[in-house]
Amino acid sequence: MENKKPKLKIFKNPLRRWGWLFLGPMAAAFIIGFVWPFIQGIYLSMCQFKTISNAKFIGLDNYVKALSDQSFRHSFVYTALFAIVSLVLINVLAFTVAYLLTQGIKGSNLFRTVFFMPNLIGGIVLGYIWSMIFDGILSHFGTSILMDSTFGFWGLIILMCWQQIGYMMIIYIAGLQAVPDDIIEAAKIDGATKTQTLFRVIIPNVMPSITICTFLSLTNGFKLFDQNLALTAGQPFVIQPDGSSIKTTEMLALNIFNTFYGSNSASSGQAQAKAVLFFILVAALGLIQLGITRKREVQQ
């Protein structure tokens, strides 16, 4: 049985010897492109700086300022509201479209392609295109998307739905196609109605897709930046009696950006602190949501 040994050797050594070759470049890229900037970002959130090579450590002051900033709190509430509404709308509509397109309608493939296409356009471009569309309509009523925060909110919701539904639809279609025919057939034989089949059989079976889609739309909603900047850039402002202003349609990411470039040299660190808080928030929400929806997944 000694002849088995060389086999093991052949197998073991190349891996030992060459493993780094496969892992190394990507690990290096990951560290250079993600881990290091991330650590430095956390450090900078405790500094006062204008350029990062000239940072001065000041402790947790930035966090205190960030948390007491009224505009940050407003943008948090606004973003949360936006994320929830867009999460619900995008997923309900995407699932509906996916469901309809798996019912064997003629031209399904064409529809799928068409619905997916908006996702290929960049956010800034989309924002400007949609602002033209909205203003084209609203100008007939003597107003503009920049004039009313309700328009700004729903405008952004429409834009995001238009962009994201196609993408989520693809994921749902994959999920729907993976539901075994025999389960559906069994349900039919047992006398389940179409609605019962949908809610009792199909939806529990596409839970993995729902997990992914809700995760993506929730984090997308929170991280939204380009579309927000291009569509309204925070307009309209509510001018406070003290002369400060609340940017009614400013979301978290834009608030961080505006803080960074907004005021004095002390604000870069404050923006950095906001960014760290923002990361913790999005990561925590994402993980909680994953945990909840995962529990509802069924094993086939």
Partner: protein
């Protein structure tokens, strides 16, 4: 025994296989994550860099042959990029000194400067155009007092100093703004330029033209759009009349940003602003989103007045060669003696944190730009008057108007607007308030404009000076 050993060996192989699979999966995941991240990174950076490149970069690739110093100018005016690239090339050909000019995309100068300053080859020459800039970047600027370039100046009026008296940046040109008028159209409407000597005169002419717009085929004012490409004409330039008259009343020019303003001349700002938006081709309600080409409206004879500055001269004089610039008449007592708003945001600062060779090369380059007849002629053509003794003379008609007003004993309205604290935020709030006012011209809406204008100043001053 051997059977058992085989068993163990197989197990080991199994474990190794699984391990291999795991590692493979892990590296695959890393690879994908890396790819995604790299993708993101690329997108982000290409977004900004391509912008910068499209508006110009990399003047010359030729290496310095004589001097050891290099020049790297971070320019903030996209419209002069082409001229600067050509001048940089000429200078390199003449002297062998490497000159690189990069232009920040419109409206992104402060972001570009922030990131460029962090690089190993930061700009040696950059722009600190106002007190906000002095506050933000003063530490990075060399004291230009008694340098070769400072000795070429013929006035100190356009220089910026910090609180300690350090000469942070020096003006390389100055400009003026006001109301550009088309005398031909005004005469066609049955009026004369002479009638416009104060706000009452301007108002009478503008309102008469607007009333007869249908028969005349043109209107009084070109569109006053509130989008980013145009709102600065009102939130920056026109706002200057309010600040200036506050200064004038106090009898002293501002030398630094005052913590508060009184807003005493808001009514005058409102006078002129109302006249602009209500006697125009475009309904005030359509101004928020912009999309109207005010310059073109003026150039094609659709409007008799156009609120803008001397840099428009080249474009405007193509079709309206007799265009003149008149002051912001707004109903202030004694405004018959008003002149144009003259000043600059074009101020050079030399990076204090680069090598002395680079600093010297940079100052040499600056001196060349303001003394060489050809180079300064090109600069003057694009930029307006250069306040240097040996610089070429300007052929700009509007700047000539400005000089004539001054020669006739009128007061120059200096650019107090440059002191606007946290300028971007301040103006953004003002735009929002003006949008609401344009849609519904009530006292209440104007009160919000006033709050943004006056109280907003104090708020932004506090924010900009927070420790």
């Amino acid at each position: 025994m051997s059977a058992r050993r085989t068993n163990i060996l197989e197990k080991v192989i199994n474990v190794k296989t699984q391990l291999f699979k795991k590692i493979a999966a892990a590296s695959m995941a890393t690879l994908m994550a890396g790819a995604v991240l790299a993708g993101c990174g690329n997108n982000a950076s290409s977004g900004s860099s391509s912008k910068a490149e499209s508006s110009g970069s990399q003047a010359s690739e030729s290496k310095a042959s004589t001097g050891t110093g290099k020049v790297y100018w971070l320019n903030f005016k996209p419209e002069i990029d082409e001229t600067l690239q050509a001048l940089a090339k000429t200078y390199t050909e003449k002297t062998g000194v490497e000159v690189k000019v990069t232009t920040a995309a419109s409206g992104t100068y402060s972001q570009t400067l922030t990131s460029e300053m962090d690089k190993s080859n930061p700009p040696t020459l950059f722009v600190i155009g106002n007190q906000q800039g002095v506050k933000d970047w003063g530490d990075y600027a060399l004291d230009l007092k008694d340098t070769a370039i400072a000795k070429e100046l013929n006035t100190d009026a356009y220089n910026l100093t910090d609180a300690n008296g350090k000469l942070v940046s020096i003006g390389y040109c100055y400009e003026c703004y006001g109301i550009i008028a088309n005398p031909t159209l005004i005469e066609k409407a049955g009026h004369k330029m002479d009638e416009i000597k104060n706000f009452a005169g301007l108002k009478a002419v503008a309102e008469d033209i607007h009333a007869k717009a249908d028969t005349l085929g043109f209107d009084a004012f070109s569109s006053s759009d509130m989008d980013d490409s145009s709102s600065w004409r009102f939130t920056g330039h026109m706002a200057n009349l309010e600040y200036f008259y506050e200064e004038k009343e106090a009898g002293k020019q501002w030398t630094e940003c005052p913590p508060t303003i009184t807003g005493k001349y808001m009514e005058n700002y409102k006078n002129l602003y109302d006249l602009c938006i209500n006697n125009s081709l475009t309904s005030p309600k359509d101004l928020a989103t912009g999309g109207h080409d005010a310059e073109n409206e003026f150039k094609t004879g659709k409007a008799a007045f156009f609120v803008n500055g001397s840099w428009e001269y080249a474009a405007v004089s193509e079709t309206v060669p007799n265009a003149v610039m008149i002051p912001y008449y707004c109903g202030v007592e004694g405004e018959e003696k008003a002149g144009l708003n003259c000043g600059t945001e074009n101020c050079w600062a030399v990076n204090a944190k680069v090598s002395e060779d680079d600093q010297k090369a940079t100052i040499d380059f600056m001196v060349w730009l303001v003394t060489d007849p050809d180079a300064s002629a090109k600069m003057v053509e694009q930029l307006g008057i250069m306040p240097y003794t040996k610089a070429a003379e300007s052929k700009n008609g509007f700047l000539k108007n400005a000089a004539d007003y001054t020669a006739n004993g009128c007061y120059v309205m200096d650019w107090a607007t440059n002191y606007q604290p946290n300028v971007d935020e301040y103006r953004a709030a003002l735009v929002s308030a003006l949008n609401a006012y344009n849609a519904n011209q009530t006292d209440e809406a104007w009160a919000a404009v006033k709050t943004a204008f006056v109280d907003g100043w104090a708020t932004q001053y506090a924010a900009a000076n927070a420790k």
